[in-house]
Amino acid sequence: MMEDQEEKGNAENGIGRQKQVKDEYLLQFLDSLDGYLTLLDSLSSTLSQGWLELASARHAMGASRINGALLDLKVHAAATSLKVSEQDVDSMESQPCFTLCKWASSDNGERSSGEEKSLSPQLRHRNNSQLSEEKVSTRTGTPLILVDQQRQKSLSVFGVLVSPKLRSAQLSFERALETLVEIANLHTTMLSMFEQVHKELENTNG
């Protein structure tokens, strides 16, 4: 009798733990979905801002100074690159992890905070891109002046003396690129969580 009760108790504890694990996966999936949708919205508004700033720069400087015909077709190294690596989620599977290497042609190759973001699926709120740049440069030791030089170099296709609106547009598109990488990482996390939830449901039904 006592043994029966003990077995029944153990079974109930096991079921409870399973339910807790399922709830945890479900919560993580919903969190990642919420973060994903928020980031999509943020990307949309950042891109809108960037395009309007670009139009404002064309308005200030003239269409002959800002147009696609001035972009450099000479072979040159990319200023920014994307690194894809495999991150182990558990012993059975791994998921891709995206890292943005901004202004990689500079001497120290500044790494964006996207690298830290790729390890955490949680949403980071951006207040001021310049403030985050300062924090990154402090962490990595890359002088901000090198980053500014690289930015000016990439804008120099439109001339050396460009409108502040064009510089703002550049920063907006930089932020958009970082957000895209965050979205990609969150998307893989979300899909991974979805598969976990799906597996748990199948186990329960099976």
Binding site: S48, W51, L52, A55, S56, R58, H59, G62, A63, S64, R65, N67, A69, L70, L71, D72, L73, K74, D148, Q152, S156, V157, G159, V160, L161, V162, S163, P164
Partner: protein, 340 residues
């Protein structure tokens, strides 16, 4: 009345002054801008513009429209009007009208040289050039490797030749050198135009000296603001400012050392004409240009003022079109300059 222009101006300039005053009456009004700012699509803008003088230029454009198409077609109207005035003009008005286009010529030269440096196709670059700044040998610019060749092969036979004396070096063309060349040419052009107007004398000299002084001052402010945070040194910056204008010479000395926009504002606010209009520099310019039509008759300033007002109107149309196309109508009033 500055001289006895009323007695002699109409002999050679009367017809064209009447023409340009007629053109001026065709500029868009506040009601037109109100209608345009409420458009939902670029086709709506085309529909509203069909009731204006731009109508014939846009009516055959197929949908979907692009903002660059609207700007190109509106610019064609300006070019047609300019060419009509130029072919009817006699000296010295014809030279005066040609001076108005040298700025566009400089922009086209820099566009071709920069595009060639970036290995772009010449035909593609020629399509982007402003029609008012075209000249016969412009395509040959793609061959030059440095400024000396640029001058020797092409520009020596153009009206820009005299402005090149300060630019001729054997240094290769790179982004910084091209920028310095652009601004040095423009500085020389403005100063030459100023001297030409002074030689004409009378009402033309008086009115044009104010308008060109404003242009020189606006250029100085733009150069200052755009060079903040760049590798352009203070001495190089000072060299790009024109040697006339309200800000010359003391304002230029202060602008040359400015490190941010607040310092620039501080410098400008010391000059009463610029105190209240610093934030609305373009609006102030439009007011000055429009005054040239009303304050005096029998001078060439009306032609310069009309060209600048039309160019401002085209920029307004470009901005309104971009805001409508990007669904940002709330931002329309950020950059539209109302002329009336």
């Amino acid at each position: 009345m500055y001289g006895f222009e009323a007695m002699t101006f109409n002999i050679h300039g009367g017809y064209l002054e009447a023409i340009v005053r007629g053109y001026r009456a065709g500029l868009l009004t506040a009601a037109d801008y109100n209608n345009l700012c409420q458009c939902e699509t670029l086709d709506d803008i085309k529909m509203h513009l069909s009731a204006t003088e731009y109508g014939p230029y846009l009516q055959n454009e197929p949908s979907p429209l692009h903002t660059t198409t609207i700007v190109e077609k509106c610019t064609l109207k300006l070019v047609d009007e300019y060419k009509h005035m130029l072919c009817q003009a006699t000296e010295p008005l014809s030279t005066f009208l040609e001076y108005i286009t040298y700025g566009h010529m400089i922009d086209n030269v820099v566009l071709i040289v920069t595009g060639t440096l970036h290995e772009r196709d010449v035909q593609e670059l020629l399509e982007k050039c402003h029609p008012l700044g075209m000249f016969d040998s412009i395509a040959t610019l793609a061959v030059a490797q440095n400024m000396r060749e640029l001058y020797r092969l092409v520009l020596v036979d153009t009206p820009l030749a005299p402005y090149f004396s300060e630019c001729i070096t054997s240094e290769d063309l790179d982004d910084m050198n091209i920028e310095i060349m652009r601004n040095t040419l423009y500085k020389a052009y403005l100063e030459d135009f100023y001297k030409f107007c002074q030689k004409l004398g009378g009402a033309t000299a008086e009115i044009m000296s104010d308008l060109l002084a404003f242009e020189a001052d606006r250029r100085a402010v733009n150069i200052t603001i755009n060079s903040i945070g760049t590798e352009l040194t203070r001495d190089d910056r000072r060299k790009l400012y024109s040697n006339f204008g309200l800000l010359y010479p003391y304002g230029h000395e202060e602008l040359a050392v400015c490190e941010d926009i607040d310092q620039v504002r501080g410098v400008m606010e010391k000059y009463p004409p610029y105190q209240s209009i610093f934030s609305k520099l373009s609006y102030g310019e439009s007011q000055m240009l429009d005054k040239a039509f009303y304050e005096e008759e029998f001078h060439y300033g009306v032609f310069f003022a009309y060209m600048r007002l039309r160019e401002q109107e085209i920029r307004n149309l470009m901005w309104i079109s971009e805001c409508v196309a990007q669904n940002q109508k709330s931002r329309v009033h950020d950059s539209v300059v109302f002329i009336f």
